[in-house]
Symmetry: C2
Subunit: 515 residues, 2 copies
């Protein structure tokens, strides 16, 4: 009598193998393994590990290095070992993996079919349980990049929000704000949250760390306080302070989003629908009832014209309406950085200068933060219509916002990260007399990253002039800060090759939209 396939397979002993493979599950088998058949197992193919009822899908590497894995062993990389949760030394069987069934839906989407909500839910479920390889994730992203119906978008937001933590709050009004990013500096959340919380509205803000930029709000807040706060602690902080400024990564809101982003990034994919699904799934999971979306528009911003901006606005409003979230979308001036600092420490200095009403605080950051806070305050039914701005200014000028920020910092606890500005500097000077006509946001982001931000917290850029300012030849336009000479050399070279500033004699066009 033929035996059952799995019982007849040889078993391999689990060992840890230290390979950083990003997010993907990877296992390593010896070429001399008793479990290996060259016709079914090839390098980079997908395999299925089984131990009792536990199953793990992983990408296979085959090695001749006995030091890495022996013939009766299977090496699991860090994420695979954690997710499989079998102790080192336990026995597993390995067989060629059957693709997750939801991949049939991915292929159908590639061929142009519209997917049903259940199919999208199955895809997100498999993806969240790490059953997709990076290539399979790319297939889903690209297959749905060109066309997604509104029904598919809603189903995607729903499935992504359900796949992780779903927060509930005791208050009827839970406000939030979100910027789609791309503008250096622009740390408005760290000013808006204390203003809004000081007023008494609930604003449990989770932020991301930088992915391709020199600083995310979580990176900048970490200069002032701990941000890796879990769900229960976050609830306590919000109960005490009405607001918080924590890193979303620890709260596990819409984990599928983090997985999708990890593949979108190397492929530089950036579609409207996926951006909206990413943001709205997190807000839905976060329990937000009222949401303000900031869309910066400018020649080097993510949005470059009014048509794109309008289409994106409509998409946010559509999804918000479907899920009963009051969404307000505003287009803002995205022609140049907001504030003077770029990089965690330098941005934190800007934020504290605004909150302390320092005379040298950047006026654009203060003004934009007040306007955004004003919109959020208007959600308070107690507040007289149109008085949001005045109330925001009152809370900032009186020091109430600063005191609230201090409460939040105390509640989140001290951060252990380095918080000194990089002492090594290099100034970039104007090459002619004239006015600053253009500032390239993409270049500044790139320079600040080359300087070491966000890993080197004090690395980055300080701006000395903004669009419209008169400058003289030789006058410093901005200063690069680093911790390290080799980073300074690299950043300085890059700044000279591609200058982020254009100085000329024409008068620059004003931003199409108020800050």
């Amino acid at each position: 009598m033929p035996q059952l396939p799995h019982s007849s397979r040889p078993q391999l002993k689990v060992r840890r193998v230290s390979l950083d493979t990003g997010r993907e599950n990877v296992v390593v088998i010896s070429r001399h393994s008793k479990a290996l058949r060259p016709d079914v197992f090839r390098g980079f193919s997908r395999v299925e590990l089984r131990a009792g009822a536990k199953v793990l899908l992983a990408t296979l590497l085959i090695t001749d290095e006995d030091a890495l894995v022996g013939p009766d062993e299977i090496g699991l990389s860090e994420p695979a070992l954690r997710r499989f949760a079998e102790p080192v030394g336990s026995l597993v069987t390995v067989s060629p993996a059957t693709s997750p069934q939801s991949l049939d839906a991915v292929r159908a989407k590639i061929e142009g079919r519209t997917l049903q909500p259940a199919e999208i839910e199955a895809i997100i479920g498999d993806l969240t349980h790490y059953r997709y390889s990076d290539m399979e994730i790319a297939a889903f992203l690209i297959g749905s990049a060109r066309f997604m119906t509104s029904g598919e978008l809603i189903a995607l937001v729903q499935a992504m929000a359900r796949a992780g933590t779903q927060l509930k709050w005791p208050d009827g009004i839970v406000v939030d704000k979100h910027c789609i990013g791309g503008i250096p500096g622009n740390r408005t959340s760290m000013i808006v949250v204390p203003i809004v919380a000081a007023h008494g509205l609930t604003i449990p803000k989770t932020s991301s760390r930088a992915i391709t930029s020199p600083a995310g709000t979580a990176d900048t807040m970490e200069i002032l306080a701990r941000v890796d706060v879990g769900v229960e602690e976050m609830k306590e902080i919000v109960a005490a302070c009405r607001g918080c400024l924590v890193w979303g990564g620890h709260v596990n809101l819409s984990p599928a989003d983090d997985i999708l982003i990890s593949v979108e990034r190397p492929l530089c994919l950036d579609t409207r629908e996926q951006m909206v699904a990413s943001i709205m799934s997190k807000k839905l999971a976060a329990g937000s009832t009222h949401l303000l979306i900031d869309l910066p528009v400018g020649p080097t911003a993510k949005l470059t014209n009014a048509t794109e901006t309008m289409r994106l606005r409509k998409l946010f409003e559509f999804v918000g309406d479907h899920f009963g979230i009051a969404v307000e979308v505003i287009a803002t001036d995205g022609r140049q950085p907001i504030g003077n600092g770029i990089g965690p420490v330098l941005e934190a200095e800007d934020v504290m200068a605004v909150l302390t009403n320092d005379a040298k605080a950047p006026a654009d950051l203060r003004e934009k933060s007040l306007r955004l806070a004003a919109h959020l305050l208007e959600y308070d039914p107690q507040l007289r219509g149109g008085s949001g701005y005045a109330r925001a200014r009152e809370l900032l000028d009186s020091g109430a916002a600063l005191r609230k920020m201090q409460d939040i910092i105390d509640a989140q606890g001290p951060s252990s990260c380095r918080n000194d500005v990089g002492k090594l500097t290099f100034d970039i000077a104007a090459d002619a007399d004239g006015r600053v006509c253009e500032i390239d946001c993409l270049q500044l982001n790139r320079l600040a990253r080359i300087a070491g931000a966000p890993i080197d917290k004090g690395a980055g850029i300080r701006l000395f002039s903004k669009i419209g300012d008169r400058v003289e030849k030789g006058q410093p336009l901005y200063r690069i800060h680093t911790y390290d000479q080799s980073e300074l050399d690299l950043a300085a070279t890059a700044a000279r090759v591609n200058n982020a500033y254009t100085v000329g004699d024409r008068y620059p066009a004003s931003g199409g939209t108020a800050p």
Copy 2:
């Protein structure tokens, strides 16, 4: 003065690291490497290696295992080491890779833009030089899966054909045949080539090895002769014999196709345009002037209906006309296997039985081969119209085709591979009296692979009955052959779970198209 970026980077010493990573370039760096910056280098990200003017793009793994690579070393996996062609111990710099510029065109395609020929040529060029990661290749395939204009298809075929060897032949007429695959057995090329060459037409046939099937023509021919023949030797064989039956892998026709297929396969992507580009680029590079395409149609074939078949036919004709290749496309009966053997040795037995005019030779394989050969012979201007079939039969019955096959085998030289039929067998019997109504080609392919084909050359299946045959309960329908007891157990179990034969009392529909 700031230094140039590359000269200031620390250098690492090249070493070999034995990791089978499939086709992809992979390099391994120690987490304690002096060249590693965690903000720019992450696991599975892309890096660029430089040594003088040489550049290699690769996917990065980071490890803590000192046995694998030391802090001042960089480990290159086999394909990366071969392609970079720098000796072990030489010094290289490593930096984050900039994506190949042609990826902008891939992204444009994903967003729905039609690509220009120069853009497609750049994509295929980068792909052929291993500058794309698997994920980037997937992006190209999926981005162009849903829609490709006829202009894009032509540009793709052209670029793929130009990327590798381009064969030229002294003869004005160079014929070729190609089947899109999917039907077990069906080794017509090994009968058609000797018939056509015996007649005197030039037919330099290159074939693939099995990718997902239990045998390709190259695997089956290898039972009788060596097939890993290079370009120059192939030319000599064709000069001497008019024909050959060699493996295309050694001839390097359309190398981009092999790369694309290596990514299509794990994703199970299969689109018409890509299939046509794959086949036609190889034929264009092979210097074929007249081409016969065999499209098997049946419920478990690659094509299941007349509409699909017609569309594919038109696409082949369109591309053929553009490049001046006379293309004839015929739809054939794809309801069941052709011949009785499945797996290299068993199929080679069928072929030799037909060529030797053995009374037990499978009639369907003989008949289909004669009809295909007849089409090709009609390309000979000397032959009177309509007499192709009679001429083909004459060459087969007289033993001329057999003698030609023997010449080709002698010219290609002896094969060293094992050529005995698997002695361990298991018979699958009819579970009822009746007629064979259906045979599932996909199941038979799967079973033959589980039995060990094509790696175990003598493993596979021998069929005892075909559609329409009367069988009694308990009568063997087919026999599984293996070299090994554990493969026999697996295949027997799989055959019992999903029987490939349907026996019933209804009379089966005939194939819509003659064989």
